[in-house]
Point group: D3
Amino acid sequence: MPARLLTELSAPAITAALGPDSVLVLPTGAIEQHGPHLPVATDLITAQSMAELAVQQFGDELDLWLLPPLAYTKSNEHAWSAGTFWLSASTLTAVLADVARSVAKTPARRLAFLNGHGGNSALLQVAARDIRLETGLRTFVLHPALPADHGGESAAGELGMGIHGGLDETSLMLHLRPELVDMSQADRWVPEHLDAYRHVRFGGSVSFGWSSDDFGPSGVIGDARGATAELGEERAEAMVAQLGEALAEVARFDPAAPR
Amino acid sequence: MPARLLTELSAPAITAALGPDSVLVLPTGAIEQHGPHLPVATDLITAQSMAELAVQQFGDELDLWLLPPLAYTKSNEHAWSAGTFWLSASTLTAVLADVARSVAKTPARRLAFLNGHGGNSALLQVAARDIRLETGLRTFVLHPALPADHGGESAAGELGMGIHGGLDETSLMLHLRPELVDMSQADRWVPEHLDAYRHVRFGGSVSFGWSSDDFGPSGVIGDARGATAELGEERAEAMVAQLGEALAEVARFDPAAPR
Amino acid sequence: MPARLLTELSAPAITAALGPDSVLVLPTGAIEQHGPHLPVATDLITAQSMAELAVQQFGDELDLWLLPPLAYTKSNEHAWSAGTFWLSASTLTAVLADVARSVAKTPARRLAFLNGHGGNSALLQVAARDIRLETGLRTFVLHPALPADHGGESAAGELGMGIHGGLDETSLMLHLRPELVDMSQADRWVPEHLDAYRHVRFGGSVSFGWSSDDFGPSGVIGDARGATAELGEERAEAMVAQLGEALAEVARFDPAAPR
Amino acid sequence: MPARLLTELSAPAITAALGPDSVLVLPTGAIEQHGPHLPVATDLITAQSMAELAVQQFGDELDLWLLPPLAYTKSNEHAWSAGTFWLSASTLTAVLADVARSVAKTPARRLAFLNGHGGNSALLQVAARDIRLETGLRTFVLHPALPADHGGESAAGELGMGIHGGLDETSLMLHLRPELVDMSQADRWVPEHLDAYRHVRFGGSVSFGWSSDDFGPSGVIGDARGATAELGEERAEAMVAQLGEALAEVARFDPAAPR
Amino acid sequence: MPARLLTELSAPAITAALGPDSVLVLPTGAIEQHGPHLPVATDLITAQSMAELAVQQFGDELDLWLLPPLAYTKSNEHAWSAGTFWLSASTLTAVLADVARSVAKTPARRLAFLNGHGGNSALLQVAARDIRLETGLRTFVLHPALPADHGGESAAGELGMGIHGGLDETSLMLHLRPELVDMSQADRWVPEHLDAYRHVRFGGSVSFGWSSDDFGPSGVIGDARGATAELGEERAEAMVAQLGEALAEVARFDPAAPR
Amino acid sequence: MPARLLTELSAPAITAALGPDSVLVLPTGAIEQHGPHLPVATDLITAQSMAELAVQQFGDELDLWLLPPLAYTKSNEHAWSAGTFWLSASTLTAVLADVARSVAKTPARRLAFLNGHGGNSALLQVAARDIRLETGLRTFVLHPALPADHGGESAAGELGMGIHGGLDETSLMLHLRPELVDMSQADRWVPEHLDAYRHVRFGGSVSFGWSSDDFGPSGVIGDARGATAELGEERAEAMVAQLGEALAEVARFDPAAPR
């Protein structure tokens, strides 16, 4: 059982346990096609695992509390594929707002979205501001693994485009849930022609609206062939360490100048 | 790990595994105050556990597949209490519609909501019809334990009003997750004066809009004092058996007359 | 002219006439296909007639006031047929909320939906709670005739499935508006094969999403052949008597324990 | 009983009775304060009566069919007063769109709103266009009595401002439902200072957002003192005659040039 | 640069400049097909030019301030044509409400829509009331040129139907932006057969839902052939003069009786 | 007059001028407080000027067409200040979707948002994907000046936080519209204490919900004191050059691999 799962407390215990500097951590996963070698729950498993590990390791120190994850989020870039289960932008926005209003009813004043799916990032930023303004909660958006199209890194062989089902993500799953990975189906699907663009590219200065089948029929963007559990473990440890650092800032962040 | 959890398959495997008579089972829990003796996740734990047990036991035979649960649902009758996390009627309706549209993209044509929270029942019935008409999916609403205000039974000492945090629910939790139950806080909160009404009562011919603090400050309606793990186990077994029967009908239900 | 029709008063007279225990009665009918023998306004006529009779008989004693009915409600299970005029779930929810906000502006604090159409029941229950929480009004949902799929009774020859255009409803219309009934078109349309299901059935433990043309082309579910005005009169009298009992409880219902 | 009330037919009879040139007439009333001398249902009674009379007189000739009225519409200019029951702009728009979609399911292709409340006029014009474009129905907005702020006339003593509870409306009610009028409460409430404005005035070149309590506490704008049943009868006859002329055009209107 | 363009001030300067009787003028144009001889921005250019001229001429005296125009508004009667860019009724309503809420945050208490597109008139009237009631702002709807279907005039040769791309509008554009007018494409498109209707006509007692291609393929309704810059100049001067008169009333309008 | 402003063409000319590789450029500005030294239209002026310059310089070569800008967008981080005029997330999303549907009606298949306001960036990314999926248009989001909280640069003295009313933005305005800048009010408002955070910072790995008054009463974040028209001209030229490069990619971008 995950440590410090808030919802395992009774209502009076929740009120007693939380204070204004408590951080409520809401993992946002996704259920979406991840190629033939990874389960559709990959982003949910990743977000939830990283959140659980971070809260387990840093929760007592930083007063972190875990909330049940949102499994279904905004995955319409994979809507073309059966096996993708997704919410529209307006639905997900409404879910986040409703959950945040409930958070605002508790003594806690800090809400952190721990997001495992790149397709949610922009929407979460919009929601973080709107929730901040409506409820007064301090809101934060964290990514255990910043995807390459949001400023993160990607292996050289992937030309910086390992954003969906590639080396890192597959390695992470080999570490976390190896029985769900079928390496016999892993392959390299890198849209190499995109490397010719300097601006219109994943993580470039011009973002663009895309569907994952724009780049080919596999729905994968990256190269999963070299994935190993060892690399996954290494990545997981680095992610949790970085989450710890980030959450330490989240727990004490104050935008107003000290007086 | 739960058996036959659909989202542990890859997208191509999902398309291969499902056929028109496959039944997708979506547990709908709730995160809401359950008095001082039970965790706020009680309905989520119950719905998810019963769904997992039923799919484990009957899944191969009936071609059942589990979906990740909806943890946050419609609990506004408990909104007065911190620790309740809830979605508005319009938000939950949108979530159900979006998930159902994603289900309709798979080969499966049967979607069963397995609902652990009485406050969702009416909304799920509305959604079941609307989804049926929009997507063509056959939709079903099951309750592992029909609450007393929806036609289920309740112990005599509860005057038929054991609908929230009472004998059965507490026993079930003592069986499923005893470490989360604090029996030292269990008590009897039965609004006995309501027994004078014949029509306006839980499960009566006149339904009424209520908030759980209408009946007293505890937020519990029932008598948890006699709860035991044994009774909980007994109830769980009966529930799973009944779910099995019900799901067998769900799997073959055809409204059209045979020709 | 119906007795105690609130809207026949002037605005100042309404404020003078109503107090916190006044009950405002809003009939919710439906305009939907009812087979070849009954008018599409059957549910509207029924709900309005029963409401008028109940308010006439019990209004002075119980401080009941009639509101103009909602003719158009949620009938999408009959949307396949021309002659059905219906509102979506979100539209009807908005109508109920808006009317309730207007009620909350008066001195009255009790609002009773008197519902003549089974397809509205679940939505009205959702609305009753949400209105209760938003406005503080005490809300109630009454059915003059509880349909068989909501716990009511149905004749043996209908196998408990006389839910739409069957014996009781046709008899009631023969009593109330005989000139609108064409008994030459009355017939028996009972989906007998459904009697094999124990759980998935009208009023069973598993509710299911259906459209009335799922069961056959007539759109009727029941057996209208034996309908008579005498039976209708008997049913009407029983309904009004039961409404009187129920409204007496509505008028004095208090969820809080007496001190 | 009103003549040619469509909803008194069965569904198959509706399909048989209607053709593309049938005109469905939907009266839109209002429930809103009308001063101390008139019932809040004044606009509903007026719209419904005029619609019934017009359909009775011209229905056979012009293939007109009456629909049950919308009692609750957009009256927020009177929302300050208890006794006003109103729908928001978005709710009423949704109701009109839903009803129109149901009309579009029948063979009829012409839908006429017969509007008894000035506060609905602008919204009905928006809806008429949007319904036309969504459903292809030909849509029309008729006013039995064009109010002074929409180009109609008003008695000299009212300075052209008899728009709410004044001479004509009170007379009409004395003719239609005299028992609901309290002439002892009738008075003159004319905001004479508005006569100084040439542009910003009821029916002027500049329309303005107003609430009926902007002009004084009575909520009436006009002079009801001289109202008589005779004048009301005269007005009613003129209205019905004019509706007959207008509906004759509605029934044959074709925007495309004849070829 | 236009005079008194509010948004050229800094935020503190805006607060200092505005008082409760300041009038904020929001031009509402349209981007929609206007036949082969006029640019799609015709209504935007007209509304913006008239607003700028009126504010320049009368702004200092009447404390008028210009806001950036809404270019995209409700033009769905021209949605059949590429080159029409339009907002739905609900979108435009939301835009107006949001802008008005922002206006309500300033010291100003008067908001005037200066509307250049007939298709917006009804919606603006609805919005004007709703904004008045939500924010307390005094709201006004002005038309520089009242179109013939809203009570304005039209040349005899147009049979009173010069409502879109006809003599006046073309002349106005020849005066304002001659380089954007192609008189070689100007023609006469008057649906003469409509002149036979007395009630169902542009500006008649019965308004009707229409699309501009209902009347013929050109999308123009009027006769542009005789248009000249001279006539346009004359019309422009008359419009600005009339706007000045109207805005003088807007600036001092008070619905309450003087005490 | 700006070059290649699409809306100065007639509807038939638009259809003739556009082809599938035409790029429609929609500037998105903002009207929001920018401190005491800059006008509230700063972002609108910037976005529109850069768009006009880029289209003028590269339009013929790249088949670019300018659309009228959206002046009012999402500025709720400045909603605390009078002088900010903003649309909610749902309103702006609806506006973008409606305009995009109108674009999709033309022969053009590429739509580029040229965004001058950092507060729009995340929402535009969400919209770009959703529009891509709904309409099939290729969508792009460009920033003439990538703000420091979105990966852009900021002067050393601003500690990388010159995101609102700082050196670059003020210089740009001194170049574009010097008469609107009041350098006597320019000052340094840099929340230096934020420099202690490595993750939770503008452009950091953790984004956070903020309101511009969180950091102090001025609403400015940056140091405007050193701003000069020369620096502004330099920045403008660099921006236009970079936009030219980016738009060249936008005009030929194809996600599918060449065959």
